[in-house]
């Protein structure tokens, strides 16, 4: 048998890679495409000319910029709160000795198995009574801390050698000083992992905003898009422009920080 001039694995990977990438390419191209190119038969893949009508239509006919801003706020609060609260709790459960520690940690572990769908109904009732429904707080409060985040940080802190902390303590640091100056700077990989997961989860969440928010000016971008689709389901350039707005921030973040993303998935997968 004659050898191929390239590895046979390319025959598998090249079509697959195109299959995964081309829909996204088409999404971007369609967002910049004139309606005439989209609604003709057979449809065009490469536009005859590029134009911004999809984006202009999207921003004129919906509050997409507002939704994007809402999502940025929700995700930023979610990530910052996760980093602060979960790393502190993780450190407490990993290193400090205190009354009720094991009971507290067991309770947190138990919640990992509870699916979000189970919590939707009582959380909705609870948030209604607290006056949180139809506010941005409804979207970010469930993302302030998570059992997964606490668990992840605890596992990471347990893997650090304790000697460094002992040395800092002998030098006169108090507990918070040790945590802040010695431990946190070492925890960058775990903090990056936590950031990636919280960002992905809070940015892409759909079902909870769908339940908790009905005021259009409070929509997150995912909720806005899903509802916008319901009313404009043939205006593809607008819808694809919305898709570009909703996905590009994360895709760009992914390409910039690809190494960290992959390390994150690996980390979570193996420690899962």
């Amino acid at each position: 048998m004659r050898r191929l001039p390239f590895s046979p694995w390319h025959l598998l990977l090249m079509p697959l890679a195109l299959l995964f990438a081309l829909p996204l390419v088409q999404m971007v191209l369609t967002a910049f495409m004139p309606d005439g190119d989209i609604n003709r038969f057979p449809p065009r893949f490469i536009p005859t000319r590029l134009q911004l009508d999809g984006f202009i239509g999207l921003f004129n006919e919906s509050q997409a910029l507002r939704w994007l801003l809402n999502t940025v706020i929700v995700s930023a609060i979610a990530v910052i709160a996760h980093l602060v609260l979960c790393s502190m709790a993780g450190y407490g459960f990993a290193r400090l000795k205190f009354f009720g520690k094991n009971a507290g940690f067991l309770m947190i572990l138990a919640t990992i198995m509870i699916p979000a769908q189970l919590l939707m109904i009582p959380t909705y009732v609870m948030f209604t009574r607290l006056g949180l429904i139809d506010t941005l707080a409804a979207a970010f409060v469930p993302w302030l801390a998570s059992a997964f985040g606490i668990f992840l940080m605890r596992q990471f802190f347990l893997s650090l050698p304790a000697e460094l902390e002992d040395a800092a303590r002998i030098d006169g640091c108090n507990t918070f000083g040790v945590f802040w100056r010695v431990v946190l700077p070492l925890a960058k990989p775990a903090l990056a992992t936590l950031t990636v997961f919280t960002l992905l989860g809070s940015w892409n969440d759909l079902i909870w905003p769908l339940v908790a928010i009905s005021d259009e000016s409070i929509y997150t971008i995912q909720l806005g898009l899903a509802n916008f689709q319901g009313t404009r389901h043939t205006q593809w350039s607008l819808l694809m422009a919305g898709n570009v707005v909703a996905t590009m921030p994360l895709i760009i973040a992914f390409i910039v920080a690809q190494r960290q993303f992959v390390a994150t998935m690996t980390f979570s997968g193996l420690k899962g």
């Binding site: 390239f6 590895s7 598998l12 890679a17 299959l19 995964f20 990438a21 081309l22 829909p23 996204l24 088409q26 989209i38 057979p42 609260l85 502190m88 709790a89 407490g92 400090l96 205190f98 009354f99 009720g100 309770m107 947190i108 919640t111 509870i114 699916p115 769908q117 189970l118 919590l119 939707m120 109904i121 009582p122 959380t123 009732v125 409060v141 469930p142 302030l144 801390a145 059992a147 985040g149 892409n204 759909l206 769908l210 339940v211 995912q222 909720l223 898009l225 899903a226 689709q229 593809w236 694809m240 898709n243 996905t247 895709i251 390409i255 690809q258 992959v262 690996t266 997968g269 193996l270």
Partner: protein
Amino acid sequence: MSLLFAGRHQSAAPRAAIPSGRVRWLHRTLTGWGFAGPATALVVGLSIFPAVWAFLISLQKWNGIAPAKPIGLLNYEFMAQDPDLLAAVRHTLVFTVLFVPSSIFLGMLVAVALNRPIKLVGFYRTCIFIPFVASAAATGILASFVFNPQYGAANSVLRALGLPQQQFLESQSQALTVICLIALWGQVGFTVVVYLAALQDIPKDVVEAARMDGANRWQVFRHVTLPALGPVTVFTSIWQTITALQLFDLVFTTTRGGPLGATQTIVYYVYTQAFKLTKFGYGSAVAYGLFAVTMLITVGMILYSRRSKIEAF
């Protein structure tokens, strides 16, 4: 606060040796909960408390406004004879059975390919992983476009190949399979990366030793690589099963449960019962049913992997 303060000074004052034990205990407890308390309170308040409450709601007939009526286990009894729920369970199980094995097979295959020292590996990996970052909402909208029967790319490709045109998401018999394909497109990147990491953890000398002993590539894969991937396979199976059983977003942004209820899943059913028909009691009962089934399947998979001597947990 004054106690905290006292505690700190007492360590320097040997005279107060007797109360210092208790004060130090208090200081420790306060410091510990100062660290762990806020996050723990949030997690417990937003999951254990509502989970217990959801169970109480499931024993009631309640629309969220009028006074709740306690009805015992009636909601659970009704579940057993609700044909719409039965259909939703069937759709969810069909989806799970299609999705989990194919995502694992495809993930493993692609990871093995990406683990070869060939050109363009970085490009391939990026292409396959990027859809994982896209939200289910965006993925669903994009898929509605690609699979649109009139001007979608999928039918264009079929036409170019001389194959008959399909209705895809608008066909009762195809919609669920198409949603499964879309879910695979979005999720395979995750399994690939997890498998890739596991492959890179296999010691090179073990593989070399097997090759030296005369094993061919397939035999190396079958007897060295595959067993080494066992724990990761257990992990990804459980993870993907849980994901599949909770399918909602993609259905919402492609078919909204249609056509004629053909893609109604359990979570979609919970959503409509609770938030469209305001049947909070019945919705909570179904959600508890889903939780129970998820637990059973997860525990079953862990026990099976234990019995097969795969140490995943």
